[in-house]
């Protein structure tokens, strides 16, 4: 037991020390990623990098909270330091509850299989060019996988999030959205597809169609209700993170595909939704249009990184809901103690009239994913939270595969506007209106490109 060697506050002191240093590796007892990279085992266990107090919620809370418990207003004081301020407020005052599970020690459960392989294969090869974009050693676009699995500074942490949003080269998330008003009623409900196709930074090391000037295609199309059915957008992201994506849209009113300006990134996509384009993955805008990136802290957090967030076996993978005035404001979420998180702050320096003053993202160093993000308004008041739930798509009822292995992805998101009292929550379902089904693999990348990522595709999807 490492705690015999290191006292209970060792990790806290270690995190403080690393935060003061600025540049530091993940891991408390040893550096996490060199250890993982050296491992020739099929099992990538992080246990040796952290003391038990960071891997066991029971030990961390000195027995007050243990796996299987439910965090409520009655016991949240024991984990208050492990929640972002808005989640804490939700538990304290809005009836939110959070289920607690064992921490995941096996990294393979925190990544898509191919993304982890590419991360390990390409570890140490990424660097920034003079313009601030991530490059392979030969100056080409990034090779695939996480470019900086052990980020040494804030820019590297930010690049990890923006270069491969969903960690899958192709994914189509059939998404069902509910927008809850201040009274707890469902004010709006939408079905939409969120699809990502990596052009570069692909796990297979290929550059799709040779377009090394592009990073990804990102298409979104709404299928319900009738007044937005057919509304479709295609964002073409440039690899150069100082350039805005190109935006094509099909609006049913125009009956054709048109080009639209793309700098409207701080407003809802559709009425009632709290989500802004800018919010996505805490990296919804090209990285170099934001600035003042800084790591302000390293600390453990509670994050929804647990397989319990996959609703296999439930109808359409629908997430149970609870809390709020009408008992339907929050997803049922399963959180675990994430042993080490980077607290990354950044500001929208390229958007002089953005309503956001600052974004704080808590990034789990195990997979470099944001587990919570909170924005403040320009007055400095805490405004919105973006809280994703991730999981390997496998439980005792069902396993959803990608290339023969359990898929891994986000399963849901809650976005809460605490100043307006409105919640947007959506989950990845098996299928939504229009017959669109969630998928993480394809036998033919050109086929999904033709079907979903062209102006012609928008025309067909829009009608």
């Amino acid at each position: 037991m490492y705690i015999k060697k290191y006292d209970f506050n060792y990790s806290r002191r270690k995190f403080l020390e690393k935060s003061l240093l600025g540049a530091a590796s993940a891991g408390v007892l040893t550096s996490l990623w060199p250890m993982i990279a050296r491992s020739d085992s099929a099992v990538t266990d992080i246990s040796k990098a952290y003391p038990d107090e960071l891997l066991s919620i029971e030990m961390h809370t000195k027995g007050m909270i243990k796996p299987g418990d439910v965090i409520t207003a009655d016991n949240v004081e024991h984990v208050a330091h492990l929640l972002d301020p808005i989640a804490l407020e939700q538990v304290k005052t809005m009836g939110r509850r959070i289920r607690i599970a064992e921490s995941t020690r096996d990294l393979t459960k925190l990544y898509p299989h191919d993304y982890l392989e590419a991360t390990l294969r390409n570890a140490g090869k990424a660097r920034f060019d003079s313009a601030g974009n991530v490059r392979a050693p030969d100056g080409a676009p990034w090779l695939g996988g996480c470019p900086f699995p052990d980020p040494q500074n804030a820019e590297e942490a930010a690049a990890d999030m923006v270069l491969a949003w969903g960690r899958n080269d192709w994914q189509m998330s059939a998404t069902r959205d509910h927008d809850i008003d201040r009274n707890g009623d469902i004010a709006y409900q939408y079905d939409f597809v969120w699809a990502e196709l990596q052009v570069t930074s692909r796990t297979d090391g290929q550059i799709f169609q040779g377009r090394d000037d592009l990073l990804r295609y990102n298409a979104t199309w709404f299928t319900r209700p009738d007044d937005v059915n057919g509304t479709s957008y295609l964002n073409t992201w440039y690899y150069d993170q100082s350039k805005f994506p190109d935006l094509l849209g099909y609006l049913p009113a125009f009956r054709r595909v048109r080009q639209f300006p793309t700098n409207q990134r701080f407003e809802p996509l559709v009425p009632g939704m709290v989500l802004f384009l800018s919010d996505a993955w805490a990296a919804g805008d090209p990285m170099l249009t934001w600035g003042n990136y800084r790591i302000v802290e390293r600390k453990p957090m509670l994050g929804a990184q647990n397989p319990g967030n996959f609703m296999g076996g439930r109808d359409n993978w629908e997430k149970p809901v609870h809390g709020g005035p009408k008992g339907q404001t929050f997803h049922e979420t399963v959180m675990e103690l994430c042993p080490e998180c980077i607290v990354l702050e950044s500001e929208p320096v390229g958007y002089p009239r953005a309503p956001v003053g600052k974004r704080t993202a808590w990034i789990d160093v195990r997979n470099q994913l944001m587990i919570a993000s909170v924005t403040t308004d320009r007055k400095g008041e805490v405004w919105k939270s973006f809280e994703p739930q991730y999981a390997q798509y496998s439980n005792e009822h069902e396993t959803f595969t990608k290339a023969g292995k359990p898929a891994w992805s986000w399963t849901g998101v809650m976005i809460y506007d605490r100043l307006d009292g409105r919640m947007t929550r959506y989950y990845v379902g098996k299928e939504i209106q229009g017959g669109f089904k969630t998928a993480f693999e394809t036998n033919d990348v050109n086929d999904v490109y033709n079907r979903y990522m062209t102006s012609q595709a928008l025309q067909r999807l829009g009608g």
Partner: protein
């Protein structure tokens, strides 16, 4: 939209699938029970347009400003002649009250094949006050559309004669107060980079909004709410759907797009319906029956060249607007209606029909020639020179307004009212287009930040226009139409989402916004268009902006169209999405006919709808 369960829909899907698979089974890629699925949705919507002025539509019988007033005609043999048009004028509170329903169904038939259908149903509550043809002395006009006000039938000449054939070759079913049609009813087949869409469909091209420079494949259906609908919806409810096969192919970042389409014309509002724009003293012989076997063709290519987006198109089409010319009325009514008058057969060979719902004075003739952008003198001469019957009745050619007035009043005095008969015909034309787009990337927050500029140019070779004389010798000229579109989002405050701006300018070398040749502009009661200094080109400026509320629950729109001949259309609007199935739009149309120049309102295009100030409310329930 609501999803059907697979099992429930197998009953529907199997027959559909068998039908499809029975007709085309290539590669086994068509109907696939494992892929089959369906969903449906739609809305019902009440739409009401409330008039905000006392102006009535002058193109309708009940809105004719000459009704029930004494009009001095030219003296006959020195005797003063006063006439009174005996059609009652009406005062309307509403232009429109309709209930609209839309029902959509999507079927997934296989991995490559899908079907989409949209049924549109409209019922008009007939709250628009109109004339009662039976109560007007001397009124018995030929043509079904002039005897009974009919909101929705599209009638053309057929074997049964004038206006005897209804909606040829169209997927629509209409009656006096209702219409049901299928604006979308097509199959999509996608295989790799190829998308083929076959069925009844609209095809829209181009970046310009409302200015139809590249948007040439479809005509417009101006029944329902004409062009006075909610501006942000552009022409989505107006383009005339047509059976077509459209194929799109992506290659190397370029989109190739081509179509073959059954030709369907623009459909104008019927006589005496609220938004009618063809003066009701005319009787139209729509000759579409001679063209309903014609096809339009078009190709377009779009892609990027460096930082520019480029598109080019070429089409061979029948101009859907058609042209109008005098035609023999075929109505055997004598000139005077007096016993012993044997001119009935002769009158049938002229372009006129004696009827009290026609024109009764030279003043009315020239007044309406101005409104219709026609030439009062040439119009008279063409109706004489091209019709021996008119000459046989003693009609003679004239040189000026005075002589024309003398002759017209002589005939009007004899007849007590004459209706003019026009043939509507269609002409093939080749239309070419070129477009360039560029996105500026200025300093964040600056004017040039994400400003999108597009220039579109249309060149029509040998376009045929209605001659302002209504002669069968149409005007045939090449026309160039150019538009500049600037659009951007600009955020003015941190509290409100970005405001969306569109600025557009359009230049037309030969015709106005509605396709009327510019040589017909400027006529008045006192002056024929040939003596007006008609404009050499037409220019329009449009500005539109949208400002959503922070939650997008509300959106405020403002649209302005300025005709540089001195008229303006203003439409402030608000859209409300309170959540749930309800939606509300409200907008106000205000048209300033002649407020910006000293020239007559007949020089500009917008005054054609100058009477139509109204407030419209739409309340919808989606399912």
């Amino acid at each position: 939209m609501v999803a059907f369960s697979k099992t429930r829909l197998m009953k529907l899907g199997l027959p559909v699938g068998l039908l499809v698979s029975g007709t085309a089974q290539a590669g086994g890629a068509f109907f696939d029970p494992d892929v089959f699925g369906a969903s449906y949705g739609g809305f019902v919507r009440f739409e009401s347009a409330v008039r905000t002025t006392s102006d009535e539509n002058p193109y309708n019988q009940a809105g004719n400003p000459f009704n029930n007033i004494d009009v001095q005609r030219n003296p006959i043999g020195g005797t003063p002649d006063t006439v009174r048009r005996l059609v009652p004028s009406e005062s309307n509170d509403f232009n429109m009250n309709i209930m609209r329903g839309k029902f959509d169904v999507d079927l997934r038939l296989g991995s490559k094949l899908s079907f989409r259908g949209e049924l549109r149903a409209i019922f008009d509550f007939d709250t628009y006050n109109n004339h009662d043809i039976g109560s007007i002395p001397g009124a018995a006009p030929a043509g079904d559309l002039h005897q009974n006000v009919n909101y929705f039938d599209y009638r053309v000449n057929g074997s049964g004669g004038l206006q005897s054939r209804k909606a040829p070759m169209a997927m629509e079913w209409t009656g006096e107060k209702y219409m049901i049609d299928l604006p979308r009813f097509y199959f999509d087949y996608q295989d790799g980079a190829l998308l083929v869409r076959a069925g009844n469909q609209q095809i829209a091209w181009g970046q310009s909004l409302f200015f139809r420079v590249m948007d040439v494949p479809n005509g417009l259906d101006l029944r329902r709410h004409s062009v006075l609908d909610f501006v942000p919806e552009e022409f989505s409810d107006k383009r005339v759907p047509s059976p077509a096969i459209r194929a799109q192919y992506m290659v190397g970042g370029w989109e190739l797009d081509g179509f073959v389409q059954h030709f369907r014309p623009t459909i104008y509002g019927n006589p005496d319906t609220p938004y009618n724009t063809i003066t009701s003293q005319f009787t139209i012989h729509d000759m579409y029956g001679d063209y309903d076997d014609k096809a339009n063709f078009g190709v377009r290519v779009r892609g990027d060249v460096g930082a520019f987006t480029v598109q080019a198109m070429a089409t061979s089409r029948y101009n859907p607007d058609g042209t109008f010319r005098w035609t023999e009325s075929g109505v055997s009514k004598s000139l005077t209606g007096l016993p012993g008058d044997a001119t009935a057969d002769l009158m049938a060979t002229t372009a006129f029909e004696r009827d009290s719902t026609g024109v009764l004075s030279a003043r009315e003739w020239f007044h309406y020639a101005g409104l219709a952008r026609l030439d009062g003198i040439d119009g008279l001469n063409a109706a004489i020179a091209e019709f021996p019957g008119a000459q046989a009745l003693g009609a003679y050619l004239v040189d000026n307004e005075f002589d024309a007035g003398q002759e017209l009043d002589l005939f009007f005095s004899s007849a007590g009212g004459l209706r003019g008969h026009l043939a509507r015909e269609y002409h093939r034309e080749s239309v070419f287009g070129l477009g360039f787009g560029y996105t500026f990337n200025g300093e964040p927050g600056s004017f040039l930040d994400q400003l999108i500029a597009n220039v579109e140019i249309q060149y029509a070779n040998d376009r045929t226009f209605t001659n302002p004389s209504l002669s069968r010798e149409h005007i045939v000229e090449d026309e160039v139409i150019t538009s500049l579109v600037l659009e951007k989002n600009h955020r003015f405050s941190r509290e409100f989402p970005a405001t969306y701006f569109v600025f557009q300018w359009m230049h037309r070398t030969e015709s106005d916004f509605f396709g009327r040749h510019l040589s017909g502009m400027g006529g008045t009661e006192d002056r024929s268009a040939q003596n007006a200094r008609t404009p050499g080109s037409a220019n329009y400026v449009a500005v539109a902006l949208q400002q959503p509320s922070p939650t997008l629950k509300w959106r405020f729109d403002f649209s302005m169209l300025y005709d540089m001949e001195g008229a303006m259309l203003l439409q402030p609007a608000v859209r409300w999405r309170p959540g749930g199935p309800w939606g509300v739009e409200a907008f106000f149309n205000h048209i300033i006919e002649d407020g910006f120049t000293s020239r007559s309102e007949n020089y500009n295009a917008l005054s054609t709808a100058g009477w139509a100030d109204e407030f419209t409310l739409r309340v919808s329930y989606s399912f």
